[in-house]
Amino acid sequence: MQPQSLAQRVFSQHDPKTCWTVSEVVSWLTQVIKQDMPNAFWMCGELVLTAKQASTGHLYASLRDESGAIIPLVYFNGMQAIRKDNINSGDKVFAYGHLDIYQQRCTVQFQATRIRRVGDTGTLTELLRKTLAKLAEEGLTDPARKKPLPRYPKRIGLVTSPSAAGYRDFLYTCLSRAKNLTFLLAPSKVQGKEAPTELINAIRLLDDYGKCDLIVVTRGGGGAEDLWCFNDEALARTIAATKTPIVTAVGHERDTTLVDYVSDLNAITPTKAAEIVTQELFLANQALQNFSQRLTRAMTWQRQNLRYRLEQCLRARHLTHPQEIISDRKIRLANDELRLVSALPHRAKILRSRLDALWQRLLTTHATKLQRTKTRLTALETALRTLDPKGVLQRGYSILLDDENHAIREAKDAPPGTHLTALLQKGTLDLQVAKKKTVSTNNESIELSLL
């Protein structure tokens, strides 16, 4: 059994990303076909050759039956073989081979390795051809009546001679692929005159005993005479009639005997028979070992991962050194205190310097203003002093005032005889205008005499 990973895959109708690829679908189909079909089997039908045959010698044809069902058939290097046997399109044939999928086109095809005309037994004698035709007529060779082999056989009935070469081959091939099989040997001669009867008895004995999952009738290669007992009609009928699924593996690859047509599966050698009957066990065991390993590995991985994460967490400093949480806080507290304490004087200092600055500005402004006022005052005083009429008197000038104390500015304002008072730096003089002298229109002078 193949792991059914594709069939198991979760897909969602809403999410196209969960899709299968085309080749996945094709290989899944191939897998399904290989799972349920025997490795190789005979198929019966009418051979229809395709009109155009490749020059490679491969035979491309179809097998078809009365119902119209049709399966493409390919037989590599088969042209020569069917020409030799004079098989033509339209002949009813047995084809031996297996089903496969031609991946490029996803077409099921039958890959044949042997083709025989129905009734034509190749190496068999005319007598055997008649016997086979009779058996076929009775439907004993009909693929539809072939019993399926058990997937997981435990007890394998074996009909052979303990001295036959095939016996050992079969046993050890089985055991190399599946442990703990039980073999139930019904010994029988596999060549000679008594062989058919002994084989019939052994097969019936095993079939009646009923505790085998399948029966394998086998012997190794030998001459045609040695294998002749397997062409016995009674033996063939016995094999066709067993209740237990029965496999025949007689001789070597080229040998075909009557029993091969009526058994449920015909293997080309004893070794091949062993491989076929243990195939499912072998694959199942492989899958089981694979899953068991992966199961443990996945779990171990998850545990390791979680443990690693846990350890990372546990390794955190606060968990390994819890006291550090407290000491950390202490340090932070002390730090804060320190900052607080140093912050206060600092603030006071800032305020103080601002205050000083303001005070300084105030003082400066005030002094400047005072100075300016002083300067202005001095200027005004000077101006005032300049304007003081007494200043003029100090410099030796005098002012003439009439009786009404008006200053005389022009000579015409003081006609002769006018009484005037002259203000001097110290004291006054009483004067009377004597006469007036005219120098020019604009420049008159008066002559004064003291009273």
């Binding site: 198991q8 997981y152 599946a178 039980t182 068991s292 996945a298 779990m299």
Partner: protein, 80 residues
């Protein structure tokens, strides 16, 4: 676990599903522990199914009175 009704193939498919779930690594620990235990059980079950037969050869013969006789015989010498 209703193992009596479980076929070998079903068990194998279940086991594979569990393995895939575990490998995806999305399951919480508790669930993966459960899945793991289930996986181990399934593996054991499958293994038992595969190996429940003993490895031996018996010879079946008919006795003179017509009854079947089964007796264990040794393995032939493996010449390979």
């Amino acid at each position: 676990m209703p193992e009596e009704k479980l076929t070998f193939d079903d068990a194998l498919v279940q086991l594979e599903t569990i393995v895939q779930q575990l490998e995806n690594g999305n399951l919480p620990l508790e669930e993966s522990m459960k899945a793991f235990e289930r996986g181990v059980e399934l593996g054991k079950f499958c293994n038992e199914k595969l190996t429940s037969a003993e490895k031996k050869i018996e010879m079946l013969t008919r006795q003179p009175d017509g009854t079947a006789n089964v007796q264990e015989i040794p393995f032939p010498v493996d010449q390979q």
